[in-house]
């Protein structure tokens, strides 16, 4: 039982008191910020990234993972109580969750979402533990050509699953790739796109871009919305779901978990797709589909489990291949790099403590979520009642502190605000910022692998798509092309649009 040994090693790391503490702090902070309406996991993580810089890599990642599912759970809380999705993946939770809250059943809705998330978290952790080692072993055999093709596939998949125009999404990826190239060229030492500005020699800081594109943009976008929030004001009387609730929820929880675990592994998948898919499935197979949208507990249990499972399993490609499947994982990779760890399959063999510690801490973090959040729900409700005009200056200051502390240079603030403006323009032009962040992270990696592959093949471009010599690379590229073609077909495009429409 190699898996068991590994898990024991992980447990030793994860249950050391510092790491338990960091996990706890991460989960708490993540929930705290994730609860704020309109702030999903990506801006939350971007905002809190600088806090983890001083920690050792394992602790930093454990804390970030904690922040991630904390934020995810916080988003669900907001969705149920305020009728406002904190992030894309809790859009479907709003549908039935808020209805349940209006019927005075906010307690059971929140509890079921916590329980579902916990079950999903446990299962997904096991899946990661069993699936990751063989995958990483395969990945170790990859050469630069395979890597390059894999990244192409990952980026294509990410754009396919972004909503809005496909062309714009791809354009954003390419733009991100280009921005990622700013700075000193690794191979020749030539400064590129720096316009003679010394601060740009190291490239544009990843955290800064993420905070600008997500944090600043988010604040501005929230400020322009005048509308008043309708906060659930009733008292939470009974927190625990009835036996009837449990009976109705266990199957959706399991189905959601399964669905989420599969979809999470796919590049571009993750939490959002999983929750949408789960809601659709539950509605289809339910005996009383008419209750959906009117407070059906299945509509909370399924998607909530699915988005948590998806969130967890999306760690798999990140940890084993070093390739982020979505924006959150791009942030995680950024964090790894800042800690001086090159992401990729070697992480598992070189740093087993980090790898397995992180995995076990995921389970721990999910357990903490249940234990902590059920009693703390009252506090989150109070927080939701704090007017936004108090909140946003505080968020702004925290982001400033974070960015400024990177290098004590006002330049970083300038860049952040520039990306804030750019992000705002993108939102207005309906260009998703998430694909750009993916491109930004992968830009230098892709270039390096491309160059290496070309060097090895002496400039022969067929290394990537020669089915005889490089079958793996070939099939990655084939899959990428197939995905593009499928999406471009009008029929499927309609379906895809349907999936992303809020009202099913």
């Amino acid at each position: 039982m190699e898996v068991l040994d590994n898990l024991i090693l992980g447990a030793q790391v994860a249950f050391s008191w510092q790491n338990v503490l960091y996990c706890l702090v991460g989960v708490l902070l993540g929930t705290l910020i994730g609860v704020l309406p309109g702030i999903g996991p990506v801006p939350t993580i971007a905002m809190l990234l600088p806090i983890t810089f001083n920690l050792d890599p394992t602790a930093a990642l454990i804390m970030l993972a904690g922040i991630y599912y904390g934020a995810q759970y916080g988003g669900s809380t907001t969705a149920i109580l305020v009728n406002l999705p904190g992030e894309a993946s809790s859009v479907v939770t709003v549908l039935d969750g808020y209805q349940m809250a209006r019927q005075g059943r906010a307690g059971p809705a929140l509890a079921i979402s916590a329980i579902g998330s916990f079950v999903a978290g446990c299962v997904a952790t096991l899946i990661i533990a069993t699936a990751a080692p063989p995958l990483a072993e395969v990945a170790l055999k990859f050469g630069p050509a395979e890597y390059f093709s894999l990244m192409v596939l990952g980026l294509v998949a990410a754009t396919v699953l972004a909503h809005g125009s496909l062309v714009k999404a791809i354009a954003m990826v390419v733009l991100g790739l280009l921005l990622g190239l700013v700075g000193t060229d690794v191979n020749s030492g030539v400064l590129r796109f720096t316009f003679g500005i010394p601060e740009l020699a190291d490239g544009v800081g990843f955290v800064i871009v993420a905070m600008g594109m997500f944090g600043v943009t988010e604040i501005v976008a929230n400020l322009e919305q005048q509308g008043k929030r309708e906060v659930f004001t009733g008292k939470l009387t009974h927190l625990f779901p009835t036996r009837e609730d449990l009976k109705r929820s266990w199957a959706p929880i399991l189905r959601g978990t399964g669905l989420g675990s599969c979809l999470g592994i796919l590049p571009g998948g993750g939490a959002m797709l999983s929750s949408f898919a789960s809601y659709t499935v539950e509605k289809k197979i339910s005996k009383h589909p008419e209750q959906f949208g009117k407070g059906a507990i299945e509509g909370v249990a399924g998607p909530e489990s699915a988005n948590n499972a998806g969130a967890q399993t999306s760690f798999i490609p990140m940890l084993t291949l070093g390739i982020p499947g979505n924006a959150v994982m791009a942030l995680m990779i950024g964090a790894l790099m800042i800690q001086g760890i090159a992401p990729g399959p070697q992480v598992m063999t070189d740093k087993p403590q980090l790898f397995w510690g992180l995995i076990v801490s995921m389970w721990l973090g999910n357990a903490m979520l249940v234990v902590l959040n059920l009693p703390l729900i009252g506090m989150w409700i109070k927080l939701l009642r704090v007017p936004y005009r108090f909140l946003f200056p505080s968020i702004l200051i925290f982001m400033n502190v974070g960015v400024f502390s990177l290098s004590n240079n006002p330049w970083d603030c300038l860049i952040m605000s520039a990306f804030g403006v750019f992000g705002y323009v993108c939102v207005k032009l309906e260009c998703e910022p998430a694909p750009m962040i993916l491109g930004f992270i992968l830009g230098p990696l892709m270039e390096e692998n491309l160059r290496r592959a070309m060097l090895l093949s002496r400039g022969d471009p067929t290394v990537f798509f020669n089915p005889m010599a490089k079958p793996i690379s070939f099939s990655f590229l084939l899959a990428a092309v197939a995905l593009l073609v499928i999406i471009a077909l009008p029929n499927i495009r309609k379906k895809r649009e349907e999936v992303f429409v809020e009202e099913p």
């Binding site: 280009l178 190239l181 600043v216 200056p393 200051i397 400033n400 970083d412 605000s417 270039e447």
Partner: protein, 144 residues
């Protein structure tokens, strides 16, 4: 409104074009040039699409919060060295708060005060970040 939308598209994408054009000259870069070419192509498609199809209007821009929030971030960054943490934080809060729907001096002052104290305790004392507390013209800062 529609024209504004097109104009913005054009500006946004041609800006991208410019970057690519220079990429060939600047880079020891096969890769940037390649990507640049791809971006030109994609930009052209988007542009043509937006010209050909009567797409939905581009949502209205709200410049006030955008400008103020940006200014607030800049104020923080550029006031830190000469002004110190307290002044930078307060300035950022006040400028940022102007972007909100309601602006009440008393409330904002309280928020600013709380944040200055919080920043001092958590970031300077707790995480020992090297932020200056006082304006730089005071030589021996009493608060450390």
């Amino acid at each position: 409104m529609m024209f504004v939308g097109f104009g913005l598209f054009f500006v946004a994408w041609s800006f991208a074009h410019y970057q690519m054009g220079s990429a060939v000259r600047m880079g020891p870069g096969y890769f940037p040039a390649m990507l640049g070419g791809l971006l030109i192509l994609l930009g052209a498609i988007v542009l043509l699409q937006s010209l050909a199809l009567d797409g939905p209007k581009v949502a209205a821009f709200h410049f006030k919060p955008l400008v103020l929030v940006t200014l607030s971030v800049l104020a923080y960054g550029y006031l830190m060295q000469p002004g110190g943490l307290a002044i930078a934080t307060a300035a950022a809060v006040f400028i940022g708060a102007l972007a909100g729907h309601e602006f009440k001096w008393k409330e904002v002052t309280v928020v600013a005060l709380v944040l200055v104290i919080f920043s001092y305790l958590v970031f300077v004392k707790g995480l020992t970040l090297p932020f200056p507390m006082c304006p730089s013209f005071i030589e021996n800062c009493p608060i450390r």
